[in-house]
């Protein structure tokens, strides 16, 4: 598990690595709060699939909110759906491998820094905090592979449902 820490100098990493080698045991990945070699506690961030970010990490730490804000207006009002700065794309990569979400605990990607910095995130009152579901994980949303609308089986399933009262029959 890759742990990303916010720390201007990489010196403590050396210390940690040395300590790990000396003890020969992995420290618990989610040991809370402070990292011993630093005077200041730093957030533990699980970056999920992570890998290479759409922009420089330093830049993203400082500017992700501006990127998201800019992109959201373009998407909502103009229908521009590029992926580079889309929230959906962030979540695709950074959802935790544990709970498939960017929220949930203080190690989850978005929540970790935001709770550390005490900055409230409003995004997820409306936006999904999980990547686009596969059928298995999220039965409500259509599976990625399902392109051609409702299959007969799915229709039957939905029709057999008690939710039949949903909406039919409203008289004008």
């Amino acid at each position: 598990m890759r742990i990303l820490t916010i720390q201007p100098k990489g010196l403590w990493r050396f210390a940690l690595l040395a300590a790990m080698l000396a003890v020969g045991v992995m420290p618990p990945a989610y040991a809370d709060g402070a990292v011993a070699p630093s005077r200041v506690p730093v957030p533990h961030i699980e970056i999920g699939k992570g890998d290479k970010c759409v922009a420089d990490e330093e830049f993203m730490r400082k500017n992700h909110m501006k990127m998201l804000m800019h992109h959201r207006d373009e998407t909502v009002h103009e229908g521009i759906r590029t992926t580079q700065y889309s929230l959906k794309n962030c979540i695709e990569c950074h959802a935790s491998k544990k709970n498939n979400s960017v929220l949930g605990s203080n190690e989850n990607f978005c929540q970790s820094c935001h709770s550390y910095a005490a900055v409230k995130i409003d995004c997820f009152e409306c936006h999904a905090n999980k990547p686009k579901a596969t059928g298995a994980f999220h039965p409500v949303v259509a599976g990625a592979g399902q392109v051609s609308g409702l299959g007969a089986a799915m229709r039957k399933e939905m029709h057999g449902d008690a939710d039949k009262t949903l909406s039919t029959g409203a008289a004008k």
Partner: protein
């Protein structure tokens, strides 16, 4: 693109290219048909980095003769696509609903789905105090939830009762369809699908159930199926007297 400036040959060539492109998987690129005349192929998805254009006007044609009483495939498809899981209480969101009409004199009944009519002159946009309710360049009327303050003025202004207010916290939204408490919402014409070149979920469900009562397409493109149908058969705009020029038209009511 100016249709009136084209010669007959150009129009024919134009049309055959469209048909060709409709079957190919080519990305909708701007094609030069003749000097000064270009054609943006509407049948294909626009590139993701390109803004929606007023060259298109998306609309629906609903044939109530084919719409079966009691069938709510379009409604369930909408609920599923947009992850609307409530729909049990009167105050819960409803983007599309089935309506049964009865002519009291003749006793003739007809059935139709009613949803946001995506007006060209939307009253919800007129009254919105924050600019959250807006019409996209391609005619789709939307709510920008980032700006919506939940005053519900638009709900009062809409003559079609098309909008709903989200009263309670929501979870498990479709990543493509953000929705949340405190905002007004309505049919988006499945804008996330339209931007990918797909059809709205209700239309797809209607055709996969074999009824084919709904057609989605570009009202600005004279060669689209919807435009051709509107040109040759009598269709109605609901409350045409209000002169809102809805993008949703009905047949057989």
């Amino acid at each position: 693109m100016n249709e009136q400036n084209k010669t007959a040959e150009q129009v024919i060539e134009d049309y055959s290219r469209r048909k060709f492109l409709g079957t190919s998987a080519a990305v909708g690129a701007t094609l030069a048909i003749a000097p000064g005349i270009t054609l943006l192929d509407m049948a294909q998805a626009r590139p993701a980095d390109q803004a929606a254009s007023s060259k298109n006007r998306w609309g629906l044609l609903i044939d109530s003769n084919k719409c079966a009483t009691g069938c709510d495939d379009c409604v369930s498809a909408c609920f599923k696509e947009n992850a609307i899981k409530e729909g049990k209480k009167e105050t819960d969101s409803q983007w599309i609903r089935k309506i049964e009409l009865k002519d009291m004199q003749s006793g003739r009944t007809s059935s139709l789905p009613m949803m946001c009519q995506h007006c060209a002159e939307p009253p919800c946009v007129d009254v919105c105090p924050t600019g959250a309710s807006f019409k996209r360049a391609d005619g789709i009327v939307l709510v920008d939830r980032h700006i919506c303050i939940g005053c519900r003025y638009c709900m009062m202004a809409c003559p079609y009762k098309a909008r709903s207010f989200v009263h309670e916290e929501l979870t498990d939204q479709n990543p493509d369809v953000p929705r949340g408490k405190g905002c007004v919402e309505s049919c988006t014409l499945c804008v996330h699908r339209v931007d990918k070149g797909e059809q709205p979920a209700c239309v797809e469900a209607c055709s996969s159930s074999g009824k084919n009562a709904m057609i989605f397409g570009d009202l600005n493109d004279p060669n689209s199926e919807i435009s051709k149908r509107i040109a040759e058969t009598a269709t109605t705009q609901v409350r045409a007297d209000l002169q809102l020029n809805p993008g949703v038209r009905y047949q057989g009511i």
